[in-house]
């Protein structure tokens, strides 16, 4: 009975842990994807010769924060606008000239786009002749940063609480297990068993319990990951990506099982050792 209890507790702890791990995996990926979308738009002077535009592009390309650059012609900008606001097609049709400027879209490297580096880049580009205006969605940057913080916060708060709780629960269950066999340990010592002889069965038992708990929780987690999107339906859009479960990688799964084994082993070791004193 008590062994069933141990496995269940270990399994539940790991299941909760795994759920958060999986969610956190996901948030990190979303954060990374958002990070890829850091875009600075350099609006060019109207009727700037293509040669100058290319020069500006090359200058921007030398900055270390730039990942890639893309020229957007005035026609392209107009088409985009029309696609985005079909109701305004009439308005544009009424215009003689294309009111949209050509621009260069610069995608930043998220790993290097620190506030100082980006500020320096923006300043140098603003000062460049031929660049009419520089647009940079600071809000997005802030949002990405905050999302990163959020991921870490969830990781630290809940993950921390749960790891501690798991360890506490598991080691206590094993302690109770050992306590219920305190008598046995004492008797083995009294008839001349060496400490190693006495420890081994407990260590094996604890490790097996831990591994079992880890494995069972992985199975539940897999089921959950399969079942969750089905239940949710497929129309959440961006939100769904943000909150859906992503399967743990094989190494993360192995880490969970190995964690179970280590916890079981350590828990047994410390618990048994208490009774090997006299």
């Amino acid at each position: 009975m008590r062994n069933l209890f141990s496995v269940t507790i270990i399994c539940l702890s790991f299941l909760i842990l795994g759920i958060f791990w999986s969610l956190s995996n996901n948030l990190q990926q979303v954060a990374a994807r958002l990070g890829e979308n850091l875009v600075v738009t350099l609006f060019l002077n109207k009727d700037l010769p293509e040669k100058d535009a290319l020069e500006i592009r090359d200058k921007a390309g030398r900055s270390p924060v730039i990942e890639s650059l893309r020229m957007v012609t005035a026609d392209e900008a107009k088409e985009r606008f029309q696609a985005s606001f079909p109701e305004l097609r009439d308005v544009l049709a009424n215009l003689k000239a294309n009111p949209f400027p050509a621009s260069i879209e610069a995608v930043l490297r998220p790993d290097r786009a620190g506030p100082d580096a980006v500020a320096a880049f923006l300043q140098s580009m603003t000062a460049t002749a031929g660049v009419e205006d520089v647009q940079y969605n600071r809000d997005w940057i802030e949002r990405v940063r905050s999302l990163g913080r959020l991921t870490r916060a969830i990781g630290l708060f809940l993950g921390g609480i749960l790891v501690l709780a798991s360890f506490f629960i598991i080691s206590n269950v094993i302690k109770l297990n050992v306590l219920s066999r305190k008598n046995e340990i004492e008797i083995l010592r009294l008839v001349g068993g060496t400490n190693t002889f006495i420890r081994i069965p407990f260590l094996i038992e604890g490790t097996i319990l831990g591994i079992l708990g880890g494995l069972v929780s992985l199975v539940f987690l897999a089921v959950l990951i399969q079942a969750f999107p089905l239940y949710l339906g497929s129309s959440l859009g961006a939100l769904q990506e943000l909150l859906s479960f992503r399967a743990l990688s094989i190494s993360q799964g192995l880490a969970l099982v190995a964690g179970g084994a280590v916890i079981g082993w350590l828990g047994s070791l410390t618990s048994v050792s208490k009774f090997l004193k006299a």
Partner: protein, 232 residues
């Protein structure tokens, strides 16, 4: 050789479980190899305490104790098994694995030594036959009467033909005939070389078998005359 003659030597042993009461005070004694000694005294006089000190379940508050020339108070915790392996012990509270078969209980001292299973079986059968329990071999002690449990404890103590046999009130739950049988058994083992120390309050047993008698009274050893005084 002085060492080979005295198997167990206690020097001024005193023990306090709790202040201010001394459960034992200034107990000095020698037990020679091959001795058959009764340790007696009224309830609460310190018999169990003295035996527990000898098998190092309790570290005495004062004094030294030497067994086979080794000061056992100096043995580290992880080395005690060597001391225990040369002893067979019958505990006043039996200390059996309550829910494991009698066979397993009696086999324990052999298993920790790594004796091969066939030999274990032979010796366990033998020991159980000596205490008249061969028919209860598969039952757990939880399903036995008190006297039967006590006999399991006795079988476990003698199964390994130990150098020293310590028995604390081994006949408290046995009728007189059985008690005599058990002590006769101890006598036989003693003749084969085991040193035997029995804590008991049964005067009749002592009268019948008594050779050397240690008498405890409120933690002090009287009747030392029954043994060569350690000071002499």
């Amino acid at each position: 050789m002085l060492v080979s003659d005295n198997l167990i030597e206690l020097f001024h042993i005193g023990h306090q479980y709790q202040r201010p009461h001394w459960a034992l005070s200034d107990v000095s004694l020698r037990v020679k190899k091959g001795d058959f000694v009764f340790l007696t005294g009224p309830s609460g006089s310190g018999k169990t305490t003295l035996l527990k000190i000898i098998f190092r379940e309790i570290i005495p508050s004062e004094g030294q104790i030497v067994i086979e020339g080794v000061n056992i108070l100096r043995i580290p915790d992880h080395g005690i098994y060597k001391l225990r392996r040369m002893m067979g012990i019958v505990f006043q509270d039996f200390r059996l694995l309550f829910h494991r078969p009698v066979f397993e209980n009696v086999a324990l001292p052999l298993q920790v030594l790594g004796v091969p299973p066939k030999e274990i079986r032979r010796r366990v059968f033998n020991a159980l036959r000596m205490v008249n329990l061969q028919h209860k071999l598969g039952d757990p002690p939880a399903h036995l009467s008190y006297g039967e449990q006590q006999r399991v404890a006795i079988a476990r103590a003698v199964v390994n033909a130990p150098k020293i046999l310590l028995a604390d009130e081994p006949t408290g739950n046995l009728d007189t005939e059985l008690a005599f049988e058990i002590i006769s058994l101890f006598r036989e083992i003693n003749k084969q070389g085991t040193t035997v120390l029995i804590g008991t309050h049964d005067k009749e047993l002592i009268r019948h078998f008594g050779s050397k008698i240690l008498f405890l009274q409120a933690g002090k050893l009287l009747g030392k005359d029954a043994l060569p005084s350690p000071e002499s």
